[in-house]
Each structure stands twice: as C-alpha cells, then as structure tokens.
C-alpha cells in the first residue's frame, strides 16, 4: 500500500501502448518491476547453464563425477527468497487491482450494452453511440455494463483496463482519461464469429470539445427522461409512487430509494443498486420488498437491456439532489423515503461496497485527488446534463 501512495514513477517500457489513463502508469510501473525480476532470474539461470555447460563439459567418455546430494541451506534459501519476492509482487499487484476495481463515487455514468458484435453506449444525457465512446479528458467515467447474449469483455489497452460483461448481471468499470485522442477499444472475451470485429474507439476530448459534441447530439433525451417515458408507458406508475409525498402505492415508493437499504421478505436487507432494480424488474419476487404483495408481473423478455438501464437511470434520478451541486450525490446521498432505512451509499456498486472497509488506505482517495484536481470539464459535463 505504501508503494502506491508514493507518486507513481513515470516509467515507459518499450513495446507498451500509450498511457492514457490515471491507471496506466500504475500498471506500467508494476510491469517494470515484474520485468526486472523476470529478467534477473532468467538471465541468471541462463548464464549459470552456459557457464556450467562449458566448464563441466564431459572430457573423458567414461568419467564419473563425484556425487553431490544437496544442501539444506541452499534449498531453504531458494525456497524462502523467491517466496518473499513473490509476496512483494502479490501486494503490489493486489493494490493496483483494487485501484482498478474501486469504482469512485463521483463519476460520469455511461451505460454499456454489449451484443454480438457491437458495443452500445448510452450517456446519461441520452446520446447513444455504437462502437465509439466519447468522453472528456480528466473526468472519471463509470461504465455499468451488461450484455444481451454471450460473455464479452471490454478492453481499452491505452487505459490498461478490462472487465468481462456477463449476461444476467451488471459489471462495472471506471477510468479517468489523461490524454485526448482516439484509443482502441476491444472485445477481449471470445464471443463468436465476428469477435475480432467487435471493437472501436474511445475518443477522449477536451472538455469544451466534448460539450460541443454533446450539443451536436441535441434532441436526444436524457437516459432518465427516456426511462420516465417507459415508466409511464409500461404502467409502472400505477403502482409505484415517484413523489416524496402522497400515498404508498401497491408497490414501494421509488422516490429517493436508490442507494438506500431496502428491507425484504424473509430476512435481511439489500442495497438498492443497479443489480437489485434489474432483478426486481425481471424477477420481481426474488427479493420482495417487505410489506408488499407479490403481485408485480415479470418484465423478462419485454424490456431490452437498454430499456432496463434507462429505467434504472430514471429511478436513480428520483429524489437525488441535483447532480453537480457542491457535495454532489455521493457524500450524503438522498433523503430516506418510503420503506427504506439506513444510510445511503450513493451509487454504490457491490464491488465498491466490498472495497469500502479498505477506504482509509485507498490511494485513490488519498493521493489521486490532490494530484489531479478535477478539471472544469467534469462539472461542465454534469451541468450540460442538467440543462437538457
């Protein structure tokens, strides 16, 4: 952990892709360390092989050398020393991994739906893209991903990030681009015939250019607005209240629900996150909110993955303080309402929650923020969202 709190050494290893995210230098530094170890051991072994092979080559056809059975000192040292070295790699590797999988609270959300063989992105402002993802430089971007068919894997070499996209669940990935430009985006998990064609580019833009790009897509409704429309069309509103005041409907009131704890039938609570909402839409009785009748029909097969994500965006927007205000959505979260209890955790994903206990040692919150002050674009982008 100490290792990573020190500012990352800027190493550039030959035959590396561009470093275009805050995460990339961490991986490259780890790579350099691993390379050093690998080269040290392989060169040592090779040299020993060559020296011994030459020095102790057979001189007489019938010679029999003196047997040497072994040495406890040597055995112990070449067991223990490599083990210690391996443990340093483990610690470094694991702390870097945590960085990659600790999804930050405050981030620009993009929904990703993969299908054979394309990547579909939807920004919160409503813009949709296929095989291209426009993001502003210097902003944290969080991808919430699922797939309509088989397993895919989103991979951006320049960012050194990769995450499988698994049917039936949401996986998350985040990055903060540090360079403008166009970077390859690949599908890394074999997914069928056109697997190698399932790629595109992440286009990182200056914040102002990004805003212009967003404006160019004007007319697009925000994801939440699209979700709201669906919410009306599919009759969700007849059971679920979306306002803080008023009577509880036949289903739980959704206002301010997102990110809170929800008591469920049986025992226990769940955090209302993307996965829980998705499950409640597709499999409403799986984790039934406490005190409600199991009357909601399933919407499996009636909503596309993209529509579900839009509904989630809408439910998420209900009762959240306006995004972009100081303090934002994350620190205190929305007010409790309806049947929910307990503290809110903002847009917490399961992974993030699991990571939280380690938060104090987290380099991301400890050092990255002062190092990289939030750029104007982040607020700007969020503001643009709201203006729509």
């Amino acid at each position: 952990m100490l290792l990573t709190q020190v500012s990352v050494p800027q190493v550039s290893v030959p035959f590396s892709p561009e470093q275009a995210s805050t995460f990339a230098p961490h991986v490259d530094a780890l790579y350099a360390y691993l390379l050093l170890i690998t080269i040290f051991f392989s060169v040592t072994i090779t040299l020993l092989l060559i020296v011994f092979a030459v020095k102790y080559r057979r001189r007489q056809p019938d010679e029999v050398p003196r047997p040497i059975s072994g040495s406890m000192v040597l055995e112990v040292s070449w067991t223990v020393i490599p083990l210690l070295i391996a443990m340093t790699i483990f610690v470094w590797g694991a702390s870097t991994y945590f960085k990659a999988y600790r999804v930050p609270h405050q981030a620009m959300e993009v929904y990703v739906v993969a299908k054979q063989w394309m990547w579909k992105f939807q920004h919160q402002t409503g813009q949709r893209e296929i095989n291209e993802l426009h993001v502003p430089v210097g902003a944290r971007v969080k991808l919430t991903m699922t797939t309509e068919d088989v397993i895919h894997s989103l991979y951006v070499p320049a960012f050194r990030i990769k995450q499988d996209v698994v049917p039936g669940r949401y996986t998350q990935l985040w990055f903060e681009a540090t360079k403008t430009g166009s970077f390859y985006l690949f599908c890394a998990e074999y997914c069928g015939t056109n697997h190698s064609g399932m790629g595109g580019h992440v286009i990182v833009m200056e914040p102002t250019a990004y805003e212009q790009w967003l404006a160019g897509g004007a007319g697009a409704e925000s994801a939440a607005a699209q979700g709201q429309k669906l919410f009306q069309e599919r009759g969700c509103a007849s059971c679920h209240q979306t306002e803080p005041a008023g009577q509880q409907g036949r289903g739980p009131t959704l206002y301010g629900l997102f990110g809170n704890q929800q008591a469920i039938e049986g025992d226990g609570k769940v955090t209302v996150d993307e996965s829980y909402i998705r499950e409640s839409i597709l499999d409403p009785q799986a984790k039934l909110a406490l005190g409600f009748q199991p009357i909601m029909p399933t919407f499996r097969g009636q909503l596309s993955e993209e529509q579900i994500l839009q509904l989630i965006a809408y439910i998420r927007s209900l009762g959240q303080p306006a995004a972009g205000e100081p303090g934002g959505t994350t620190m205190q979260g929305g007010s409790s309402g309806g049947t929910t209890t307990g503290p809110t955790t903002g847009g917490a994903s399961p992974i993030e929650q699991r990571s939280n206990p380690l938060a104090p040692t987290s380099p991301r919150q400890g050092s990255a923020s002062p190092q990289l002050p939030p750029r104007a674009g982040q607020g700007g982008a969020a503001n643009a969202n709201r203006r729509q």
Binding site: F15, H26, I37, G70, L74, G93, Y155, P167, G192, G197
Partner: protein, 573 residues
Amino acid sequence: MSNQTAATGARAHEWRSRFPTVNYLNADYGIKSWLLTRDHKRIALLYLVSVTFFFLIGGAYAGAIRLELLTPQSDLVQAQTYNKLFTHHGIMMVFFFLIPSIPATLGNFLVPMMIGAKDLAFPRINLLSWYIYMLGGVLTFAALLFGGVDTGWTFYVPYSTNFSNTYVVLAGLGIFINGFSSILTGLNFIVTIHTMRAPGMTWFRLPLFIWSTYATSLIFILGTPVIAITILLIALERLAHVGIFDPALGGDPVLFQHMFWFYSHPAVYIMILPAMGVVSELIATHTRKPIFGYSFVAFSSLAIAIFGFLVWGHHLFVSSQSVYAGMIFSLISFVVAIPSAVKVFNWTATLYKGSISYDAPMLYAFAFIGLFTIGGLTGVMLAALGFDVHVTDTYFVVAHFHYIMVGGAMMGYLGGLHNWWPKITGRMYPEGWARFAALVVFVGFNLTFFPQFLLGYMGMPRRYAAYPADQPIWQVLHVMSTAGASILGIGLLIPGVYFLWSMRYGRFASANPWPATGLEWRTPSPPPTENFAVTPVVTWEAYEFRPVEEMRVIGPGESAEQVAGVHPQVDQT
C-alpha cells in the same frame, strides 16, 4: 491361420537374425498382436503413433492460424473459419496431444520398467484406455471434419450452449470419453507405483520421473472427472436446455468457468509435471550425477499437484468474480510457483561439477530449463492481479502458456523420446541430425512466441482473426511469429524423419548406451516382453553412478548382444 503363422514365422526368423534377442517387438507379429496386446511397452507405442497423429493435425491447424495472421485483415480464411482453426488447434493439442503425450507414451513404457515390474497392475485396463482414447479422438476429429467447432477449447457458456451452431456436443462427447482414458491411465500408474515396486525399490529410491508421474496421476484421478461432468452439463444444456448455466433460468454462466478451470488449470500441471520428471532423468543421466536435492524435487511435484487444485480462480480475475476471491487465488498462485522454482534451481545446481554431455536429450533439457524459466516467470507476472487485468485474454497469455506447453512439455517430450529411443527401438538415432534439429526447434520456438509477449502487452487480444492495420509494429511482430512457426515446424519434422530412418538403419543400441542408472537400462534394448529376466533387487540409491561394468544387465546375460533368451534358466553369473 496356419498360413499366416508360417508367413509371420518366416518374418520372425528374418528379424531375429537382425536382432539377436527375443524382445517385445519381435516376440509376436501381425496387426492382431498389436491391437490386442497387453504389454505396456506395445501400448506405449500404440499411444506414440496416435499421439503423433493428433499432434500433426493440431500442428496443421497452428500453421493455418499463423498464415492467416500474416496480414491484418482476415483474408486467407474468413473469421468463422479462423475461429474454428484455433478451436481445433486447442482441442487437438490440449486433449489429444499434450495431456496424454508423456504419461501415455513414455509413462506407459517406463513406469513398470523403472520400478522393476513386469507390467502395469492392470494391463487390460491399460489397453482399454488406449481404445477409449482412440474412440474419443476419432469422435472429436469427426466433429471437426464434419463442420467443426467454434467455441474455443474453453467452451465458455453461454456461447457454447445457446449460441454456437457447430458440433459442440459431438466434440464434447469425444473429450468426455477421452477423459476416462486419462482416469484409467492414472489409476493404473498409482496402483502400480504403490504395489508393484521391486524388492528394495523404496519410495526414495524411485527415479524422479516416477514421482512426477505419480503426482500427475493424482491430478488425472481427481481433476478429470470434474471436466467430464462439466462437459456433460454443456451437452445437456444444449440438448435439453435445463438452464444450469443460463441466467434467464436462474443459472450462472460464471459457475461454468469455475468448474472448467478447476480441471483445466491442474491440466496444465498434467502437461508440465511429466516433462519435469523427464528432465530430471535427462539431467541426471547426461551429467552423471544424482539430482541435487532429490527429496525437494520429489516433494515439489506433489506440492504442485496439490496446490495446483487451489488456483483455478486466477483465470477469472476480470470475470466479475469477487475481488477478495481474486486476492486469495492470486496469493495461492504465487505459492504454487515456488515448487517449480525449487526444481529449476536444483536442476541448475545438479550441473555443477558434473560431466555434462551435449547429446541431443541434454540439449532439450537445457532448452527446457531456459524456456520453462521464462514461461514460469511470466506466469508469476500473470498472477499479479493488477497486471493481469491488462494482459489477460491477450497474446501475452498465449505466449506464456506456449512457453510452458511447447517450451516446457514439448521439449521434455522430445528430450525423453531421444533419451529412451535406444531402449524403445534398440537403435540409436543419428546424433548429429538430432543436435541440429534441437537447435532449429529452439530458435524457431523463440522466434514464434517471444514476439507474442510484446504483442500482448501492446494490447492485441487473443482469438482475433483480424487486427488493426494502422499499427505496423503489430504486423511486424506477427510476421516474425509466423516465420518462427515455419522454422519450428521444420525443426519438428526432422526428428520424425530420422526416427523413422533409424528404426531400420540406425546403429544397434547396447542395453545402456548413455549409460544411465535406471532399472530400465539394466535389461536388454529393446527389452523382453516381461521386462526383466529375473525380478531385480534394488540395493542402491537413485542415480548412483558407478563404473559401467557395474551397471550391466540384471540377470543371466552380460550385455544385450549376449543375452540369447529371456528365460532365467541359464545362470552365467
């Protein structure tokens, strides 16, 4: 019947005039005597032929893959064909070449001889395992010929269950059946090593090849059934759509990956452990020294087999498995690397003050140590979580496991074949050609796979028929890799040619040409059907080199040439 007997009798006579002894090769003639044999040495040769056949098929697919990747576009073959090519390459090489290669050929041939037994404990089961292997191989090969499979050898769901329109069930059935051949072989080895060691052959006098074969057999027994049931589930899922891996029916696609890698990671050790055993033998023989730290090398094999079962999750670091599970699997993966490192250090230390020959088997042993070190260390790199996120499912992984499987297992197999060729056939291979071929293989191998490390770190995903054309360096590296593959291919064909040549024209081999210490060298080359004229009694430690006269054939004869028969009635000592 009598005609046939007369004809074979005549041929037998001709052969005996060449070979002064009755041995397992000329004891009996005719196709039937091979197809119904229960002699472990003949079964080993049956395996040798069939394993080589499947290797050639797998190699042909590899060649086609490399040709396609010469250019960034998928122009030689279509994407769908390419997907079948790498799938077929993987299935053939993993299930029908690498897994059975050393255990079923060298293992079958050597295990009884090395421990001083007349045969394996269950000779009929041994023959049965070959038939099962052939049945599985033929079924799978038929599936590939009829239209092929495009799921990758990993058969990931839901692609393999709900999406692929190819012959997944038939190929899976072949692999399922083949699994039982592995299980029976492992069972036979374990029982044989436990119960049939010659008097005086204690556990710590066993050659290290036996230790590694024993460890391999444990994985055969405990791992293979799991892949069998997993493949069965895939077939059921395809045929009946029961939903065990289908999220729409409440199943979990990642569960498949856990079950698959629970076998398939230990399967990597099935491939490398026997090669490690072979290399221990080669180094001891060709330096004329006992292996440094015998017991550490022996126990490291068992440690690898045991810890190997606890690391499967390191294939799933980006699969949405829990972060903490990832950490535990990463930690254990570092631990499992240590026994391998211990072996490498001990082999290197064995060379110290040895009498090192440059015979071909030793050249392969050198290649093994060097390449396995690189393969192992890159494996350590991949076990580092943060690093793995970037390179998993890229060519870095491809390069890594080819360094282990080709640089490791394949080198061990070739080295072993050369080392025991005189014992198997009674003829020497041509040494000059063999050294030349070893060099070609080494150069070709490195040229093929080293560039793939670079490609991988640069972000080239695996299983891609086409790659970005605006990255000229990617194409340069791919061209280098293809060039290397051509050299490697030639290097691998040369031994095929001279092995065949030597069977007729090679110099006769003495009983112990190197000389080496194992019991298999204390009987004529080629050995008689029951291996030893009399059951040997072992009074010496493993790898105890003594003057050549003291390592003569056990039993009545002075040397291979002088042993007239295999029966112990003549006592000349």
